[in-house]
């Protein structure tokens, strides 16, 4: 044990950027240092590549006029959408783990500037999951191309990946935000899966009989996400929506939820 006392705070010149960068590195370490993250990564991989394989064989048997314009990219996009449902669970667990385990106590001792922690947590979870899933979608597209050679992999259709990335950013941010707002994994998971998957599909089915359900469905973030991901392949739950509206819907929900979750992180006691 050294007997040297720490330098007075006033002599440290760490600026906000440095502190944010360090906190991002710590957040990254928080993700990879627990087994559950690797289990989620494995699960997402199995789901995305598994669906790519199924879709590839299905496409090989002949989709005829139903073949999407994007070719194998579109197949990868559909496979990636199924992976998205595991992805939101992972993002939510990453956001709530500290509160569920009590780890928020050392976390806030090490990063007492809560705005910095909020920015780092949202950034690292979103970038990590989006980057990983994009690689999987790329791999899924290549796999589908191998299985169904008739489906092209044209460079001009690469824009599909940008669309996938945008949707991933939106739903991951929404999941992180809901996790920060609820501080509860089970409750948050129910809310996210409900908003992204259950409500859009349920309201789409009800919307065939009731106008109010169709109108309500147009306000749910998952409707926007599924519209963007499925519109040209499996079909949108709300085909009447424009692409711009779908992006706006997802964006408003993500930003709004982040404001709510961020407010709780900034203002509330650490673990109450």
């Amino acid at each position: 044990m050294t007997t040297t006392l720490a330098a007075p705070e006033t002599t440290r010149t760490d600026n906000l950027g440095t502190v944010l960068l360090r906190t991002c590195r710590a957040e990254w370490a928080r993700i990879w240092s627990v087994r559950s993250s690797w289990a989620f990564a494995l699960a997402i991989g199995v789901v995305v590549l598994g669906f790519a394989t199924i879709l590839g064989f299905d496409a090989r048997s002949g989709w005829g006029e139903d073949a999407p314009e994007g070719g194998s990219w579109a197949l990868g996009q559909v496979a990636g959408t199924f992976g998205m449902f595991v992805l939101v669970a992972f993002a939510l667990v990453a956001a709530t783990a500290d509160h569920g385990t009590g780890g928020i106590v050392p976390t806030l001792q090490w990063t007492p500037r809560r705005g910095v922690l909020l920015a780092a947590r949202a950034t690292v979870v979103v970038l990590t999951t989006t980057g990983f899933c994009l690689l999987l979608v790329l791999a899924a597209s290549l796999l589908a191309r191998l299985i169904a050679p008739d489906f092209g992999l044209a460079a001009e259709d690469l824009g599909v990946l940008a669309e996938v990335a945008g949707v991933y950013v939106g739903v991951t941010l929404l999941s992180v935000a809901i996790g920060l707002a609820t501080r509860n994994t089970a409750g948050g998971l129910m809310a996210v899966i409900g908003l992204i998957l259950v409500l859009p599909l349920m309201l789409a089915i009800l919307g065939q009989a009731f106008d109010w359900a169709r109108d309500l469905g147009e306000l749910v973030p998952g409707t926007g996400a599924l519209h963007l991901m499925f519109d040209e392949t499996l079909g949108s739950p709300a085909p009447q929506l424009s692409t711009e509206y779908a992006w706006g819907l997802l964006g408003v929900w993500a930003v709004g939820a982040l404001a709510l979750g961020g407010l709780r992180m900034l203002r509330a006691d650490a673990d109450r």
């Binding site: 044990m1 050294t2 007997t3 040297t4 006392l5 720490a6 330098a7 007075p8 705070e9 440290r12 760490d14 440095t18 502190v19 360090r22 906190t23 590195r25 710590a26 370490a29 928080r30 240092s33 627990v34 087994r35 559950s36 783990a97 500290d98 385990t101 009590g102 780890g103 928020i104 106590v105 050392p106 806030l108 001792q109 090490w110 990063t111 007492p112 500037r113 809560r114 203002r267 509330a268 006691d269 650490a270 673990d271 109450r272």
Partner: protein, 314 residues
């Protein structure tokens, strides 16, 4: 140095901390005492920026903890040994703390050795005993080699060797000029290591003093004396003693007279003495006296009833 000024925390109808003001000085071990629910942990959490005060402020080296850019080089704290992600290894837990504050990872290995975690550092925390978690929490507090240290019940779960180690560690930190605030419900432990004590009850300050002054503040010095002629001795002492209590068939406890005067008086009246000693006050005694009106949660001993076997009752 830690400065607490008018610190108040309200949870709905409950005022957990009520206008608390005190300073924790450098170079001393300051004990933080109070009954269950007195507000000790809440106060420490507010000092560490975990909970937002309803009123008042807590400053560390003149600044709120939340404003510190590299906080663990200023303040180290063990607040709750169970508050860690159980799926992470001890070493990974400490490395995250080091990364967050720009501390070289070599320092992680130093504190692991210092707290005696050794090979356990590579195991996941869910496999740790309470004592090992305490050691890991202490290692985290020491990561930044800070000048201010807060420990909430640091000896919980430690074995005797661990208790002696933490005792020496805290004493050593204070001797190095660091500020040490430690809460504990083990009064004998606090009497051994604390230079000063801050006592709170129901969120309010009851005492802020050094140990000696706290002990002196109790009753006048009492002397325990044993003699086969206790009645005769009591008669001889009565004019000058402030009180004489019979505590046994041949034992008295005398207040208001020093031991040597009691010995002289016994000699004058020819009473033999078998025992003569000043009664040592304990911190526990002083603490109980100070907090007797501030205890929210009392336990009750079940009433002793005659043991009756079913068969006998019938």
């Amino acid at each position: 140095m830690i400065s607490v000024r008018g610190l108040t925390k309200q949870y709905g109808e409950v005022r957990a901390v009520d206008d608390l003001t005190f300073d924790v000085e450098a170079g001393k071990v300051t004990g933080f005492l109070g009954p269950n629910g007195a507000g000790k942990s809440t106060t420490m959490r507010m000092v560490m920026g975990l909970d937002r005060p309803t009123a008042g402020e807590a400053l560390v080296n003149g600044r709120p903890y939340r404003e510190l850019a590299t906080p663990i080089t200023q303040v180290g704290a063990l607040l709750d040994a169970a508050a860690m992600h159980p799926g992470r290894t001890g070493r990974a837990h400490l490395r995250i703390g080091a990364r967050t504050n720009g501390i070289p990872l070599a320092r992680v290995e130093e504190v692991i050795d210092q707290v005696g975690l050794g090979g356990a550092a590579k195991r996941r925390i869910k496999g740790y005993s309470l004592g090992m978690r305490q050691r890991l929490g202490i290692a985290a507090a020491l990561l930044g080699d800070p000048g201010v240290l807060l420990f909430d019940e640091p000896v919980n779960g430690l074995d005797l060797d661990g208790v002696r180690w933490i005792r020496a560690l805290l004493r050593g930190f204070a001797d190095e000029g660091r500020t040490v605030l430690v809460s504990s419900h083990l009064m004998s432990e606090m009497q051994l290591i604390a230079d000063r004590v801050i006592v709170i009850g129901r969120g309010r300050l009851i005492a802020d003093t050094d140990i000696e002054a706290m002990l002196r503040g109790l009753d006048a010095q009492r002397v325990r004396v044993r003699s086969p002629r206790a009645d005769a001795l009591a008669e001889a002492l009565t004019p000058r003693a402030s009180s004489i209590d019979r505590t046994g068939p041949d034992e008295l406890e005398v207040a208001g007279l020093p031991a040597h005067e009691i010995g002289d008086a016994a000699h004058r009246v020819g009473v033999p003495l078998h025992h003569l000693a000043e009664v040592q006050h304990s911190l526990e005694h002083a603490y109980l006296r100070l907090t007797e009106d501030s205890v929210d949660y009392h336990g009750h001993t079940p009433a002793q009833e005659p043991a009756t076997l079913d068969g006998a009752a019938r």
